[in-house]
């Protein structure tokens, strides 16, 4: 037979060919090196796509807060219910204008700039230790099947746990203390929503200050923290907003100064603090409270931001 096309190869690998076709493909591939390579490539695509789709199954606390006794509905009839909360929400007319986060179903072929990071943490000032993860696979493209093997780092499948003791690290001692207060406050979404500058805009657009409430509480900033603001919609769809300094530069913000969040865009920001360059992770937790965290090694430490008035 002629070289099978990509669709036929996938159909073969998916076991969807009838016997006649299947045998023909098998025999051809056995004797054609070029097609054998394409089969290997296809296998990689199938496995890689499967893993990427699987990555969607991680569900941060946002979408479904765990409650004791909340089990999977075991029959249709338990599922068919309208919870009081849903009814209330549906019925209430909120004057707060619609909070339109980045559209999700845009032109399908374009990558909508949206990819976010949100770390859901508990409300205490303890931190969630990142389990020792394999080095992220920012590998250069490898040939054919190998390439896809590196597409996702191997992730341990142990269920995430609530913050436990921090791993001891070489970083400065105050940051290893889970209860170390870094002296910043948290702004809740309701305040953010009320504060937004124009109806229909992203509710997290506005001005923020990274600053301390009292000089005594201010702990030394860690060596590195990266800034990325993310906004999480109720749908678990997260958008990252860009942080821009008053001067308009994206990549340098004075810790303790204010900066403006503009439209949702993915961005990393370096902060410049009196101690030198810093990176601060900022995220908007489910429910909309603004949280910043600082990474030392791979451990996030939580800080928070204060919402302030935008100055013209």
């Amino acid at each position: 037979m002629q070289h099978p096309d990509e669709g036929t190869i996938h159909a073969w690998l998916d076991g969807a060919l009838d016997d006649g076709e299947r045998v023909a493909v098998e025999q051809h591939v056995a004797s054609c090196a070029e097609c054998a390579a394409r089969v290997a490539d296809a296998r990689g695509m199938i496995a890689g796509a499967s893993r990427i789709v699987g990555a969607l199954d991680v569900t941060p606390a946002a979408a479904i807060p765990k409650r004791a006794g909340a089990a999977q509905p075991s029959s249709l009839w338990r599922v068919l219910r309208v919870t009081p909360a849903r009814a209330a929400l549906a019925a209430s007319l909120l004057v707060a204008a619609s909070l339109v986060l980045a559209k999700r179903h845009d032109t399908p072929n374009k990558l909508v700039p949206r990819a976010p990071i949100a770390v859901a943490t508990t409300d205490s000032s303890t931190v969630a230790p990142a389990p020792a993860v394999a080095a992220p696979a920012a590998a250069a493209p490898k040939p054919a099947a190998k390439r896809v093997q590196r597409a996702l780092p191997e992730r341990d499948t142990t269920p995430p746990t609530v913050a436990a003791a921090l791993p001891s690290a070489a970083a400065s001692s105050s940051l290893n203390n889970p209860r170390a207060r870094l002296g910043y406050s948290v702004t809740r979404m309701s305040e953010l929503a009320a504060d937004r500058s124009a109806p229909g805009m992203n509710p997290f657009v506005g001005c923020y200050q990274l600053g301390s409430e009292s000089a005594q509480e201010l702990a030394p900033l860690p060596a590195r923290f990266a800034l990325e603001l993310s906004a999480e919609s109720g749908g678990g769809n997260r958008n990252v907003v860009r942080a821009v300094t008053p001067e308009g530069r994206v990549d340098s913000v004075l810790a303790g100064s204010s900066w403006r969040i503009t439209a949702p865009m993915l961005s990393n920001v370096n902060l410049t603090s009196p101690n030198g360059p810093r990176h601060l992770n900022v995220s908007l937790a489910p429910g909309g409270s603004v949280i910043a965290s600082v990474m030392t090694d791979s451990t996030p430490h939580r800080i928070a931001l204060s919402r302030i008035d935008c100055r013209p």
Binding site: L99, R114, P159
Partner: protein, 180 residues
């Protein structure tokens, strides 16, 4: 009723998972699944059940997605805020995910959303174990074109994801660098 119960037991979970991956929202997925099963209840008889269920669910999503997206977003935000308030009162045993997982989730979401609707649906159905005839029936494709569709969807997903990964590493790693 027995029949519907069986239908539900067999297909509810895969359907919800398919919808959750498709929509990125578990609650919304559950709603659509509810609606789908309600319609199944009204059917006299369904030949090729899995295909039928996935087809109905897919069409429901398509219709809704076009219509209601902004209103839904607002309600979702409100719902989550209400939830967060409540959760703050309970002792929270919220599941914590690592930054790494969150990043992967985000990139997977973006890469998947970059596919065309049909490619995305075909791929997600395949991931739920639907075979080619079922996918063909659910999406009104010829069986021949299911293979081509899946091949294209998988390739674009993987390549899209890899692009996002390399963009991320160029941009500075998103905060997962170890302190130097």
């Amino acid at each position: 009723m027995n029949d519907v119960d069986r239908l539900f037991r067999e297909y509810h979970q895969p359907l919800v998972r398919y919808l959750t991956r498709r929509l990125g929202d578990r609650d919304w997925a559950e709603e659509v699944a509810q609606e789908t099963f309600l319609r199944a209840v009204k059917q006299e008889k369904i030949v090729s059940e899995r295909s039928w269920l996935f087809a109905v669910a897919t069409n429901l999503v398509r219709d809704e997605a076009r219509r209601d997206i902004r209103r839904r977003r607002r309600l979702e935000l409100l719902r989550d805020e209400a939830r967060a308030e409540q959760a703050a009162n309970d002792s929270s045993d919220a599941e914590i995910i690592t930054l790494e997982q969150a990043q992967e989730l985000a990139m997977a979401r973006r890469a998947l959303d970059a596919l065309t609707e049909r490619d995305r649906e075909a791929l997600l159905m395949r991931e739920e174990g639907l075979d080619y005839p079922e996918i063909a029936a659910a999406l009104e494709l010829s069986i021949k074109s299911v293979g081509t569709t899946l091949a294209r969807a998988r390739r674009r997903l993987v390549e899209g994801y890899e692009t996002l990964q390399s963009e991320r590493s160029v941009a500075g790693g998103g905060g997962t660098h170890a302190a130097s």
